[in-house]
Symmetry: C2
Subunit: 208 residues, 2 copies
């Protein structure tokens, strides 16, 4: 059991709840201002509604130590700790394909820093890929507001380069070359399954 | 956002943590005394190690309301609530197949009571099945210590029967007839992928 070391908890807004109201008041102009996580959640809801895919974000893993039952209506967890996730955040099924992916945002304009990724998450992605899964990263460059799908099969090379201490990040150019650009559109705003379609097609050709 | 109504928290022992030590002291004779959840966890670890499948239990969904940072080393969640899960507990990939299932134990000797299942979990199973997933229930009859895999495609009928208020449960005989018995063995003790193999074979014949 590991605990993140003193890192404040920012992620997973959808589960923190109390931030919801403030966010609802905001008006979104194009792709700006919305977090990648929010966009993915909206897309997943859309896909589910239309029967196109069943993809969910996994709950934040929490080590529950103490639960209090002050009244009949609500159990209160009053001591719990964050655990390090052992998998990626998202998985599900799309037209018979197992999908598994991690979503990351960076404020960096020119590259995606690889210290953003946990070793065990990469091991998980590798295991899923070996089982025949469709595995990838969704990376959003916040400041230029561009989102890319980077297949695990391509990511692998950069991860090895990182582990060998050759280069700490993947450049935007490398991502543009090896990934799929996901343009914002009307509904769903981030139609990442379109990029997944291309990936599935490309990988089926590679695997044959 | 829903909260379970005053239900005490028993499940998900692997995440409660502090019960671990006590459990380690126990010696297991055959299949007895081990929870279904524990058995599945051991099987999943075994499958992962051998590169046979990547299947994980989803973390308990928790609504985090307040986090305290008393010192640098550990963030403490001091107010959180249980949320109703919107999916099943387990999913993953096995040799290219998307697996999705729920595990349930019952003390009932002769039937599996269907009030054990949440409506939204069944809807989730249905959606995954429609996408081509391999979807099922693992049911353990605690007192006779027998475990069965019941395919969602068969479960569906009994769920409708339940919703129409015709019958509140599935009898052991019905489960024996429509499901796959999973005998305890040496390693992993609960080799449920053997039953999954049969299910995949049977369903591929049905779907053709």
């Amino acid at each position: 059991m590991n605990y993140p070391n003193g890192k404040p908890f920012y992620g997973n807004k959808s589960q923190v709840g109390r931030t919801h109201k403030e966010e609802k008041g905001k008006i979104n102009y194009g792709g700006r201002g919305m977090s990648l996580e929010n966009d993915i959640e909206l897309s997943n809801t859309h896909y589910l509604k239309l029967g196109q895919a069943v993809i969910h974000k996994k709950p934040t893993p929490v080590q529950i130590v103490n639960v209090h039952y002050p009244m009949r209506s609500k159990a209160v967890i009053n001591e719990a700790y964050f655990r390090t996730p052992s998998t990626t955040d998202y998985n599900g099924i799309y037209n018979g394909h197992y999908l598994d992916f991690e979503a990351k945002e960076t404020k960096n304009k020119t590259s995606f820093p690889l210290n953003n990724m946990h070793e065990h998450q990469v091991l998980h992605m590798d295991a899923c890929f070996e089982q025949g899964g469709t595995v990838f990263l969704l990376i959003r460059f916040k400041l230029i507001d561009e989102v890319y799908l980077l297949p695990y099969s391509k990511f692998k090379y950069y991860w090895h380069r990182f582990k060998k201490e050759i280069k700490k990040s993947i450049t935007v150019e490398e991502i543009r070359k090896n990934g799929y650009y996901i343009p914002y559109q009307y509904q769903p705003r981030l139609n990442y399954l379109k990029a997944v379609d291309k990936l599935i097609l490309d990988e089926s050709e590679d695997r044959v």
